[in-house]
Amino acid sequence: MSPLHLCLLLSTVLFCIGLAAVLVRTSAILVLLGVELMLNAANLNFIAFWRYGPGGDDTGVIFVLFSIAVAAAEAAVGLALVIALHRHRRTIALKAANQLRG
């Protein structure tokens, strides 16, 4: 298997680990961490294609930089939301945020 395929496989595995955490874990913090992991997996793809792809331009790297910046913002807002949730419900279980339940 070529290095590119290995990189893609690794990123897929990381993505699925993150996805499983998002879908299964009860703690809102862990769900957020799962999202971060999925974002990281996507970043790894960009780098892999930049390194092994047909090449010619460096957009992949620039994109990852932006992605990291936005992910940092997302983490800050997400964790602030967790704190707000905790203040209102005294718990960080995602199930507690179910005001929209019919």
Binding site: L8, L9, C16, A20, L33, I47, Y52, L65, V70
Partner: protein
């Protein structure tokens, strides 16, 4: 070279899995920091030095701190030593894993068999100077937009996490003013 990749990949997968399985939130956060370090190593291995260091600084230095603070701020009691997460129900675990399985069953074979055009030989080199030129040149607008997003999200995070005060109560919550009268009320 490939050996380094395998080692880093192993670190990433193992720590990520452990972080996502662990019942202790603090352990999870610390394990995930290891994953991020592994990923930074992978970027370095691929030749994207600047991205690797950015990853290390932002995630290992920044995001992990935010996560740890969030964990500590949301403890049940102040003296609670370990933050344990309640178990998810069996149904939730099964359903979530089943959904994940479907996505994985689609993605993994696709990734493995994809016929990709590849570059032979050494990878491209990208100096910090070049990155700076790219950011300040063709991607300048995006940089500005990201700056705005970061500012706004920072303000938003502050607003969300700030304690609620009495004057935040909505003013309109005092019934209608009855400015127009509707057609519904029939005189009796």
């Amino acid at each position: 070279m490939s050996l380094a990749f395998l080692a880093l990949a192993l670190v990433c997968v193992v720590t990520a899995s452990a972080a996502m399985i662990s019942r202790n939130l603090i352990h999870s956060a610390l394990l995930l920091v290891l994953t991020w370090i592994g990923l930074a190593g992978l970027y370095l291995w691929a030749g994207a030095d600047f991205v690797g260091f950015s990853q290390a600084i932002v995630y290992v230095g920044g995001v992990s701190m935010v996560v740890l603070f969030a964990v500590l701020l949301t403890r049940r009691q102040r003296d609670e030593p370990l933050v344990l997460i309640p178990e998810a129900g069996v149904g939730r675990v099964v359903a979530g894993l089943a959904a994940t399985f479907w996505v994985a069953a689609l993605l993994v074979p696709a990734m493995v068999v994809a016929p990709l055009v590849q570059r032979a030989g050494p990878g491209p080199t990208l100096t910090v100077k070049r990155i700076g030129e790219l950011l300040a040149g063709p991607h300048l607008v995006a940089v500005l937009v990201v700056g705005v997003i970061l500012t706004v999200s920072l303000i938003g995070a502050l607003y969300l996490a700030a304690p609620v005060t009495a004057e935040d109560q909505p003013e309109w919550d005092n019934g209608g003013t009855g400015r127009d009268r509707g057609n519904q009320e029939e005189p009796s």
